[in-house]
Symmetry: C2
Subunit: 381 residues, 2 copies
């Protein structure tokens, strides 16, 4: 055990507090960063975070450095665990850029769709030349909640969470380090896999929008999956899911369907998605969001659905249902999520062919493929 591992948790929301508290409780040297001092004042005052664990036990994780100063947060960090909504990834990258050092590892928990691409592209735009490794997790490792200014509750730890570095050649290095603190992380083939196996993209926005009246009329007082998933709403999910998996296929990625995922992760089965969702006891008791202004819309639409749609359009896949959802969410929220979301441009993928993107995610090489070089050589007099 190299307990001298220096870990920085970036973000002190639901996930960040849980992760920082959990790691501190387990004896790791944790630094916690939040860009707003007010949000961590109470943690500073108490000197750490009180964590309620899965079995109900209470623990106190002492966190010596809690700061809104990113330079101090990153100084001497081996690994930075970024636990902020995807809407914050770009800002965090901009803040980190001047302070990163060779060899540091950044893990987005999770990346949603295209998080590693956007982080990498933002660092490059900022002129950051440090040789850092950027990785993204497919989903957040806990089911957890912030239950007070310096309190977090971890309900459940997921058994396995796929993770990939950008490029994939660096994934083993990241897992090597993470192995010690979170052995649940396993290697995904590359970030296209972690990005395109985004199940929240399929479930969250559609169920929120197709139950919008119900959510607002009752303040979300119904079971989101048990009651909100009906034959028609499930049918929309199924269509969106097929589009997501088809976009992946067009990019040579075999993504899991939502039904495969329900079957593997929850042993929930059914003839169709409606049946499979209702076969999952894990959904029982999960209530609907209390309002439409919820991360299921303002995070999952621009940072999950938009990048999937953008990749679909780029590689000739009809993303009709996904686009309908992006438009409807934009209307309801009075914004333009396509513009504000993770476009090809923000991911740094404009003008790249599929072969070039594949090469980038697998090897990190962004120059034109060898054939062009060979030709250039052959063309020499």
């Amino acid at each position: 055990m190299k307990m001298d591992l220096q870990i920085t948790v970036i973000g002190a929301g639901h996930g960040g507090k849980s992760m920082a508290g959990d790691l501190a409780l387990r004896g790791y040297a944790v630094r916690l960063y939040n860009r707003h001092y007010e949000n961590v004042e109470e943690i500073i005052a108490r000197g750490g975070i009180e964590v309620t664990l899965e079995d109900g036990r209470l623990g106190f994780g002492r966190i010596p450095v809690v700061t809104d100063d990113i330079a101090r947060a990153l100084d001497s960090a081996d690994i930075a665990l970024v636990v902020v909504p995807a809407s914050g990834h770009r800002d965090i990258a901009l803040a980190c850029a001047p302070h990163l050092k060779d060899g540091q590892i950044i893990v987005l928990n999770p990346g949603r769709t295209g998080g590693a691409f956007e982080f990498r592209n933002t660092l490059q735009e900022s002129g950051c030349t440090a040789d850092v490794i950027i990785a993204e997790a497919e989903t957040f490792i806990f089911a957890s909640r912030s239950i007070g200014p310096a309190q977090a509750h971890i309900f459940r730890r997921k058994n396995t969470v796929p993770l990939a570095a950008l490029p994939a050649t660096r994934t083993p290095d990241v897992l090597d380090i993470l192995q010690e603190i979170y052995p649940q992380f396993i290697a995904a083939p590359n970030v296209l896999h972690t990005s395109l196996n985004n199940m929240g993209a399929v479930f969250h926005p559609a169920l929120t929008l197709l139950n919008a009246g119900w959510i607002e009329a009752t303040g979300g007082d119904f079971e989101f999956y048990v009651e909100g998933v009906t034959p028609s709403t499930a049918h929309v999910l199924e269509r969106m899911d097929r589009e997501r998996v088809t976009v992946a296929m067009a990019m040579d990625v075999r993504a899991q369907t939502a039904r495969e995922w329900l079957s593997r992760a929850y042993s929930a089965h059914g003839e169709n998605l409606y049946e499979a969702i209702h076969d999952n006891p894990g959904y029982k008791g999960i209530m609907a969001p209390r309002q439409i202004r919820h991360r299921y819309i303002f995070e999952d639409v621009p940072f999950s659905l938009v990048p999937i749609s953008e990749l679909g359009r780029r590689f000739g896949v009809d993303v009709w249902a996904i686009d309908a959802m992006i438009q409807l969410a934009s209307v309801i929220a009075d914004t333009d999520y396509r513009y504000r979301g993770r476009t090809l441009e923000k991911m740094g993928l404009v003008g790249l062919s599929l072969a070039e993107i594949t090469r980038l995610v697998n090897t990190g090489i962004t120059e034109p493929p060898e054939i062009a070089e060979t030709e250039a050589v052959n063309n020499r007099p």
Copy 2:
């Protein structure tokens, strides 16, 4: 009173049974047509329709001719009142085409959006040369329901219903005849007005889709307007309504906004559409549709939203919210409503400029405007 007026009611659904029963009860010679014999068997057996009137009184309207033979239904008719879902307008036009005679009047109750255009275009395609007048009502004249195979219930008669003939020069002729049987009909400037003042287009599909989960989970057991119209769902209605009125404006038509309509028709007021809808006591007690497979989707999307969207695209108006709704409805119903709906082509409007459409609706003239003729003359050697 020319009680010798020969009226044919086409369609024996909710509206058709109410209209035929009401007219028969009032002593008019009514023929009733339905394309499926089974649907009118009971009416034939009883010799008419039992009508429950607004004040609860029961009456029996004797209908001597009830038939599935369109030739017999139209023979000697002065006026044909078409009371079928807009999805049936084209089929009715195809069926009528060989049997129409000069001077007959056809009134679509209502036309939804573009009904008169589609009816006229279908007759032309069928080679019908009879000089008939086609008119469309802005909305159906009753609030009524079929309550049995030969029973109808009229809850309320609307005070005024705008109507226009295609072309508008014939509107006075139609109102002259209708005056006697339904004095509620008043002249709209032309069919663009009746078509673009389609309030159902704005209210029905969006409220059904944004409450889809609730409708299916409860079988529609909630108040559609009182509960289903929330700040967010009303916001979507408001955006769609603005698009509809902007499409009208681009075509030189000053359509009523939904708020103006609520204010005039129901004296319901508010700072925004949410408030105005909740200020309308007329909405109290109206329950949601029992299922998603409802005319609010399969009629209002292809025959109200699609033609508005088509006209918007043609005349440069952004119909983002309306298009999102068309796409989402298509996904949920597993069909392509834009393809199946009332396109410019089906309305016979492809390639017509705004000036040409305006001239068509106002005067019936479809030749190029005079300037072109003059040029042609001048170009002669």
